[in-house]
Symmetry: none
Subunit: 137 residues, 4 copies
DNA sequence: GTGGTCTAGACCACG
DNA sequence: GTGGTCTAGACCACA
């Protein structure tokens, strides 16, 4: 479980955390049945208020990715991976749709868009190798 | 009319408006020297708070797309088109970078990403024909 | 907009409020496009913390019943009624399923269950006439 | 084995267990004078915290269904069946009251409610045949 | 010790 | 003035 949040970002903390957990499930880092850190524990590690973590767990439970039980903890749901992947693809499709629409408005050709996409892909692959540690103070 | 906003969208009105003006410049619908509607006029036409329009004009001025001549109004800057196109591409690149990163996290191949991009492009092209952005009542 | 919550009930406040709004939409008391009370206003009227109201609005928005926009307010979604009725029936079906299962365990016949249901229906109809005002102190 | 619990359900374990014992008594699976498993034994079999079982025994004792004889164990009370059946009916009546009230709010007619009830009854009858409540591993 | 609810009150983004 | 986010900290239900 390697999650981190950037307190300086303008993206809400709970969104950052939610996306990371989403991805962890979609990519199999978190597997069905795995227990998640307790709300309080994760809150301490991320230097975040417990309510914020609780909100993320609650929403992911509503989406069917997690199952929480009072007294025992929060776990990855049995069918979480499928749900996570489906959602991940849906989000990707949505973002590409926006990009394509913008490309259209800029009068780019399909070939030009494809080239830019390939560039972005290469950049993402390269970026993967670097570590981007979490700076807080 | 070259601008319209969707009051039901969760995208902030000022962002929508700003993007549309950006595009209008980048694609040549608005040309250097053209005069823009007054803040009040545009606000009425879009059924939007004047503060919102004013904010957009102010920010686009700061970006160098618009210039305001005291007493006579707001106009499209001389080098606006170049600025607009450059910014448009930068935004597009940024969005594709995010999409590519997500695709990477989802373990998609470059080919799969390209296919999704092409799909999005086709969808954008198809959608373009059905746009009727002018009238609101 | 006549909503009330019982602070003494063991049912969470946010659940009580959510159910009432759900019903108001499903029964047409709230109609598509209607503006809801502001978070702060409703919080004062119900003697509840604004966060509690905000949570309800947020969840109902996630379910597609409400639409909230920063700066302007919260409104009933266009297709809210259909969503609300569908959900209402689903909940009813779920409760009847539990009741039927229990009746089965108690070795009741279908006829006996039906009689009890009719009784409950009559009681509900009668109860409808009484007012049950909200006591807070 | 006449009891089982579902660790994945959001219904609290102690509620599940209590209901099952209730039913076992009401339907005669457990008869007056029968000895119940020890707290520790049942806890192990159900993979549940002993506190949970103890709580259920305590509450059922308070309701008059069980009696505990010092040093020899917990037994089903002599008049347990009557008590259990009465309580079962009371619970059923309560649930139907809630359902009827909801149906009323949704503007359903008595006939529609009856139809839904019959459907639920049939579904419960059908479901009953496929139950295999005993084994958990 | 687990998660769940609620309050009080601050600060930000938007119109 | 609208909703949205976040913190701090209390209290409850469950195991």
């Amino acid at each position: 479980m390697y999650v981190s949040v950037d307190h300086k970002s303008r993206v809400p903390l709970y969104v950052q955390l939610k996306e990371q957990l989403h991805l962890a499930v979609a990519t199999g880092v978190l597997r069905p049945g795995d227990q998640l850190p307790t709300v309080r524990d994760l809150a301490v590690r991320l230097r975040v208020n417990p309510n914020t973590v609780a909100r993320v767990y609650r929403e992911l439970q509503a989406e069917g990715l997690f199952v929480s039980r009072q007294g025992s903890g929060t776990f990855v749901a049995d069918d979480a991976r499928a749900v996570g992947q489906a959602e991940g693809r849906a989000i990707l499709r949505q973002r590409l749709a926006e990009a394509a629409s913008l490309a259209h408005s800029l009068d780019l050709s399909a070939a030009e868009l494809r080239r830019l996409t390939d560039d972005a892909w290469q950049a993402a692959k390269a970026g993967r190798e670097e570590v981007t540690p979490d700076e807080h103070d």
